[in-house]
């Protein structure tokens, strides 16, 4: 008897009574469906938590130079850091940041006039064109500077919303002029809404090369990167290499914690109760399979006797009933998995969530059903193999 014969005979046995097959598998279907839906919904919910509330944090990467013991950076970032980082897959936007002056005297009029416009002490920051976008900032009025301004070292500046208020600037259409010390800059835009580096809102922001030309800046201090959702870990690993191919270890990337650890905690909380319910349903399912298989053995005593007369060994008989109950379990597991996946998707759709389901769960759940069927069939299979052929053949005669 080949394994294929065994499977054929077992399938022939269980498909002989389709209605009973459905009822037998029902417990396993419910149990597996409960488990899959519970785990699937927990994963989906955890994915939503990360997606909704942590999107800003989860996509924010900062690369900066490692500092020496004297708290001074051991290396400088390249001027073209933004271009290098933008080439990496998963980067949505990036830009460099460098503090030019903690506090500089800024006025809107050139002459120092005690009775005139007041002087304000504002920070001056050098940035690459992409920084505001990388920090999710936006323009209140005017425009951002671009790569052209940067390359030419044009004397232009952005002003943070807070700084603009102090300087009494609210429109830039007239291209107002700003004096940082003696240096004259044209204000082209007012920005707001940055999620990180909120100090930018109280700063004057100039292009990198403008800062190099006018204020003697030697290089960017850090690169702010906004990544696609889920790409932060990878980008954090690649960015130092892209910025300093010869000595990436001199740079340090700050990345958000891996989402897995957060999810695992959320799942553990949500799951416990439903997993217990699923396990109970599976136990009931196993008892159902055991019960019906035992009933089937008793009903099919004559068939067992016939098979023995046709040359089946006790082992053949036991194997057939084991494969039958395992097949019922597998079938229940397959249907249950499908139902669980559908349930997860439906609930996710109803709540406008993105369904998240571990493929290993979808692949493993039917096997769990098969294992349960196999375990449930052990005792009935043993009973079947112990049927004496003479009694069996006589009983139906």
């Amino acid at each position: 008897m080949t394994p294929r014969d065994l499977v054929d005979e077992a399938l022939g046995g269980i498909t002989a009574r389709p209605a009973r097959l459905v009822l037998t598998a029902l417990g396993t279907v419910l149990g597996v469906a409960a488990l899959v839906a519970t785990l699937g919904l927990a994963q989906t919910a955890a994915g939503q938590v990360a997606g909704r509330f942590d999107a800003v944090a989860a996509t924010h990467v900062v690369v900066e130079a490692r500092t020496s013991e004297a708290d001074t950076p051991v290396t400088l970032l390249p001027w073209d850091a933004e271009e290098r980082v933008d080439r990496l897959a998963g980067v949505a936007a990036s830009g460099t940041y460098a503090r030019v002056a903690e506090s500089a005297a800024v006025t809107t009029v050139p002459v120092v006039d005690p009775s005139g416009a007041a002087r304000h002490d504002l920070a001056v920051v050098a940035a690459s064109p992409g920084l505001i976008d990388a920090l999710r900032g936006r323009v209140v009025t005017g425009r951002l500077f671009d790569a052209g301004h940067d390359q030419r070292g044009d004397p232009v500046a952005l002003v943070g919303e807070g700084a603009a208020e102090r300087l009494d600037l609210n429109r830039v259409s007239a291209q107002p002029t700003l004096f940082v010390g003696d240096t004259e800059l044209t204000v082209i835009g007012i920005v707001t809404g940055v999620f990180h580096h909120i100090d930018l809102l109280d700063s004057v922001i100039v292009p990198n090369h403008t800062a190099e030309r006018l204020f003697g800046l030697t290089g960017p201090e850090e690169v702010q990167i906004r990544t696609d959702l889920g790409a932060a870990q990878v980008v954090g690993g690649q960015a130092p290499v892209a910025l300093a191919p010869n000595e990436p270890e001199t740079l340090v990337a700050r990345v958000p914690p891996a989402p897995g650890s957060v999810q695992a905690r959320v799942e553990a909380d949500v799951n416990a109760l439903f997993l217990v319910l699923g396990a109970v349903a599976l136990l009931v399912g196993a008892l159902g399979i055991a019960n019906v298989t035992l009933l089937s053995v008793l009903e099919r005593v004559a068939e067992i006797g016939l098979r023995r007369a046709l040359g089946a060994t006790r082992r053949h008989i036991a194997a057939q009933f084991l494969v039958e109950s395992a097949s019922v379990g597998l079938l229940g597991g397959l249907v249950g998995t499908a139902a669980g996946v559908v349930l997860t998707v439906v609930v996710a759709a109803a709540r406008d969530w993105t369904p998240v389901l571990d493929l290993r769960l979808a692949a493993g759940a039917p096997l769990l059903g098969a294992a349960i069927g196999l375990a449930a069939g052990t005792y009935p299979a043993w009973r079947a193999s112990a049927v004496h052929p003479i009694d069996a053949l006589r009983s139906a005669g």
């Binding site: 008897m1 022939g12 098979r307 007369a309 046709l310 040359g311 006790r314 003479i390 053949l393 005669g397």
Partner: protein, 227 residues
């Protein structure tokens, strides 16, 4: 072929069932069935003829004595060896037919080859040939439920023949059939006998035992040659 071993050689075979009271179903039976024999084993119920058939069919083991099947000592065989010999050397025909209701006629016949170790690709052809041999070539794809009693018994006979057994053992093969149908089954047995098959038919029906070439009577667990 005088030197050829007999198909069945029982020597001093006894089968008793532990009681209380202890029942001696078969006592000290010596019986030889040679290749090509057609033997009827007749006797009243309780005379031990069914036990004798179970012993010959390797469904039961003697309490004492020896049983050689095709010259091989069956006492020394394990449960698995006996099952294999049953599948390959013995064809059973039962009073109750014992067909699987949910399988087609052909699948019922093929079942015998599953355990006899016949390769899958050969089974369909052999099943068809066996069904044609019993006159049911036109019923291959039918369900047993749609067949008459006589046709069902012919399917069972085809199943018993398909693995090419040394011995066909029939237990009251006509017990569930009317006399006309029974006669056609007995005609089939005659045909098979003429074709060289060795048959042993257990029956309490004189009409059945008269058709055999050789008759054995069982009385109180012993056998007597002749009618």
């Amino acid at each position: 072929m005088p030197d050829e071993a007999p198909v069945v050689e029982l020597a001093g075979v006894t089968r008793s069932f532990p009681g209380p009271p202890v029942v001696h179903a078969v006592r000290g039976v010596d019986l030889v069935i040679r290749r090509g024999d057609y033997v009827a084993i007749a006797g009243p119920s309780g005379s031990g003829k069914s036990t004798l058939l179970h012993l010959m069919g390797l469904l039961d083991r003697p309490s004492a004595g020896t049983y050689q099947l095709d010259g091989a000592d069956t006492q020394a065989m394990s449960q698995r060896e006996r099952a294999a010999w049953r599948g390959r050397r013995i064809g059973f025909v039962f009073q109750a037919f014992h067909l699987l209701a949910h399988r087609s006629v052909a699948e019922n016949v093929e079942l015998a080859m599953v355990y006899a170790g016949v390769a899958r690709r050969l089974r369909a052809g052999r099943a068809r040939a066996a069904l044609e041999r019993v006159g049911l070539g036109h019923r291959v794809a039918f369900s047993p439920a749609t067949l008459s009693g006589g046709e069902r018994q012919r399917v069972a006979i085809a199943r018993a023949l398909v693995a090419g057994p040394s011995l066909l053992l029939a237990d009251e093969p006509t017990g569930n059939l009317d006399s006309a149908t029974a006669a056609s089954i007995l005609d089939l047995f005659d045909d098979l006998h003429r074709g060289g098959l060795t048959l042993a038919v257990v029956t309490h029906d004189e009409a059945v035992s008269r058709r055999a070439q050789r008759r054995v009577r069982t009385v109180d667990g012993r056998v007597e040659e002749g009618a």
